[in-house]
Symmetry: D2
Subunit: 309 residues, 4 copies
């Protein structure tokens, strides 16, 4: 029940390529894994929000995870999102993830249901106790509509329930306080902090975060790996310049018009991946709106501007 390694570095949250018919495209997914490892990923995070996990059935999730674990082939750890409303449902995904060979689980706060700090703590304890794997908390208020409180996270770290955090809250003030308090409590080696804010990775690393989970890293993994390396080396000007380039590229998440932000952002990533030749088809989940020709043109221009195409 020990966390195998302290997580750090660039950990991309993999998109889930689909065929035109809406099935998981395992061939494209394998190519995506190679693309990310070639780019310098230090671990792979499957079935996160960028992976459209909310749109995948349990069977499709198993397919994704088995494909990623097999393709990774032990070269880096594989983190598995186990996104569902409450602990009993999360635990079913956790069992599937363990069977598929995942190394670490990543679970959000409860959603759809009401939340309260004590109940959120109990939620994580049940997930941790019911699965044999290290557990990261996934703080993503834009999806679950509550924020994980820093003191709850650190208490859960101290008791061995949580091995770390993927912080997609965008709340940099809360992140700062968490990092300062983590050190005060001597939890730096026990509790990894990964930022999910792909526009401010340099800042998060400056403040003491251990690594980065960036959806845009699907498109330009080498860019994010460089930000990480430059920051670790204290070459802050270079890290900032690279991050600035990526911040400009991030505009591809707005390529979709008249669609949800999910459709636009993930549609933007997938369109870029298709244009780069990594995946075969840019389709997102069935109910999501498409980018259309104009959106694709915008993505192409941004890739050219970023020097990727």
């Amino acid at each position: 029940m020990e966390v195998p390694v302290r997580l750090s570095g660039f950990v991309p949250p993999l998109c889930t390529p689909f065929t035109a018919g809406g099935d998981v495209d395992t061939g494209s997914l394998r190519r995506l894994v190679e693309h990310l490892l070639a780019g310098g990923a230090s671990a792979l995070f499957a079935l996160g929000t960028s992976g459209e996990a909310a749109h995948l059935t349990a069977g499709q999730r198993r397919t994704v995870l088995r494909t990623v674990v097999e393709a990774a082939d032990g070269r880096v750890p594989v983190l598995a999102g186990v996104i569902d409303m409450t602990a009993p449902r999360v635990l079913e995904h956790a069992r599937d993830a363990a069977e598929a060979g995942a190394d670490v689980l990543v679970a959000t706060a409860p959603f759809y249901t009401g939340v309260h700090p004590g109940e959120t703590a109990e939620h994580y304890r049940r997930i941790r106790a019911g699965s044999g794997l290290p557990l990261l908390a996934y703080d993503i208020p834009s999806c679950v509509h509550s924020k994980l409180p820093g003191d709850v996270l650190l208490s859960l770290a101290a008791e061995g329930t949580l091995a770390g955090l993927k912080d997609s809250s965008g709340d940099t003030n809360a992140l700062r306080r968490l990092l300062v308090e983590r050190r005060r409590r001597g939890l730096e080696s026990a509790f990894s902090v990964l930022t999910g804010s792909e526009l401010t990775v340099d800042a998060a690393l400056l403040m003491g975060a251990d690594g980065v989970v960036a959806g845009l890293g699907n498109v330009d993994p080498a860019g994010y790996a460089r930000v990480y390396r430059q920051a670790r080396a204290g070459r802050w000007d270079a890290a900032v310049a690279e991050q600035d380039r990526l911040a400009r590229l991030f505009a591809l998440v707005e390529a979709g018009k008249g669609v949800s932000w999910t459709a636009s952002a993930i549609g933007g990533f997938k369109t870029a991946l298709r244009l780069l030749g990594v995946i075969d088809c840019a389709a997102t989940a069935p109910s999501l709106g498409a980018l259309g020709e104009e959106g694709e043109r915008a993505v192409r221009e941004l890739l050219v501007e970023a020097g990727l195409l």
Copy 2:
């Protein structure tokens, strides 16, 4: 693919009784069905928010639904909640529900993921097309964090996708506009509107709603059936007096302190049901906080005040 009957009247959203060990307590659930039918329910809604569907695994949901269908034994229609994040996942619950013998499905807007009106329409079309059952939209912004737009609902009604609405939005202004527009478009017989606002059932019926889905109706089904009958008979003073009594009883949803609203509200309902001898155990889902002795005392006093104990 026709809606069998136009839904109306009092349709309780059944609580899901648990054993002390956390399993679905089918014996208590059967007694709850009898309690509700004796009270005058015109249909039964299983696996809604009050049924803690968010906390139930797919297997537990099947158990609940089979038990309710069997206990109802054709006396009234059974509506099945198919609460999940997106259409592909909802459809798996829909198949289970059809197999278990449910008569109608009840599905929320997408959640966790981004939403957009066009994508929400597509979401419902896919659920309708992929299942053989009439479909109600379940508008519950407090859980899914978006509001179903009235014009989308009525367009989906006009095209035969939706057979009705359970409106738990609490947005009475939007309800009014929907009811007025429903009549303008001649959709009154095609699209049932059930209010889920248990404190304003008289008002909703005055405005033209067809029926009521009230969590508090688990505790006092006869009360809600009376509100409905008095309103239908135009005895508004009597309907209001009954609803006022129920509004006071509703305070039992606040019996829990230091717990989530879900824990407090459903804990309040279940504690009342146990005190009334309907179910054996008041436990809510595993991660939820308990009401404690003080909470139980508050519930007991409210039951006495309401003349139920």
Copy 3:
């Protein structure tokens, strides 16, 4: 310091007509007063949200209030909005309102600053103590971003701080609980409850509200006066039919495209008033966007459909 009369009936929140140059158009305002009194208003509410009070300087507010008081000439009471962020600032408006001859003050919760129930209570106590006039609470979360808690309101009523409530929260469940609790505490004659939800006036009166403050009542005062009279007479079918007609007319608040809801709603009211010949110019406050020709056409069609033009 006594409340002169218990407020009830139809109390329109007056629009503030402007000249094309952006000054308060006192001639049009006087005609509006006559229009509303002829329509059956039982009191007049100046300087509310519909009166664009947020856009008026202290001097303009004084002009509006003096004009309305003079035009009303004692025929009905005049309520004065004293909308500002905190008690010290509200009190300056309160002094102006008293000087201008207002009969009742209407004050929101604090805004811009943080709020807490105890501080909100203190806020109202200071306003009441520092002015010589009866005080209504104005519950409008869409503008001030907090909801006035029912128990705070009733405690302030019991101690003599508040004489009533204008409820523009749209939260019908909270309104029901307030009305039930008001009776339990024997505060019905001490604390008037006026609904500001112009689409559900029949429902609010059914539930026990005393009157209605409806922005749309600027356009069709006679309609709202009829809803009130029919409801008071227990002719619920007639009240509902009238309210349904008004609910349809309410679509004029959506006449503006590419503008804020304030610009669209108040622009819709003012355009209707100009088309009806009541005011000279439909201009809203300087920074607000205009309805344009298309918007004006939509308003005209709705007036025709409602039988007003």
Copy 4:
């Protein structure tokens, strides 16, 4: 109409000391100005949110501003908050500020009323045109409940309406995109960006912000001046260490229990200033709750821990 100097460095948003009787304590305010200038402030920002401007009458605001301008005596520029709901009201404060000798105005988005990007632009144009002073936008969604869009800000900068931004949104992702886009459009010298996020000043400076407006800087101005100098010198480790210390000290904003966040945060700052001997009385605005003895003890301990007492 030119901006006199490009704003940068540490710009404290001054607290407004009160006497026990609730008047502006001009003697304490003058001592606060000296405290801040001695600490290294490069400009002074009066009448911001930390200055309880929402709680001050127009007369009190004039007193504050005249006192600060006089005390500053030309040593540094003085920025004046002109916080009010809409342009016509803001302009009255702007005239007072100009008369009092302020150098720059700082204005929020409209609030209480609805907002729309085009109307927000018009709002700033009217304020700029109606006053003779350079204008900063004040982005503070926690108070005004809308976020200033980056493209609107930069367009207003390009046309000469805005000279800069005080960003208190806490939205670091939006800040990054704004800074990157500012450079793309060649607006770096025309448009100053000051962060109001006192926990992440090092990060904001790394990303390219020009300066910092930090409420906590009232208490420890020298600390913030050091963060700024170390960052400008590229000594990032030192900047981070200093910011970490200040992040810990920031806990004094939570010293109040059972009060609003405004009462707790500003009460925390003022209590610290009193304990440090800078101001005479820690009272906040009349309706706000007090910290009490326990709160004062917590503040004292944090000052000791930070090496300030």
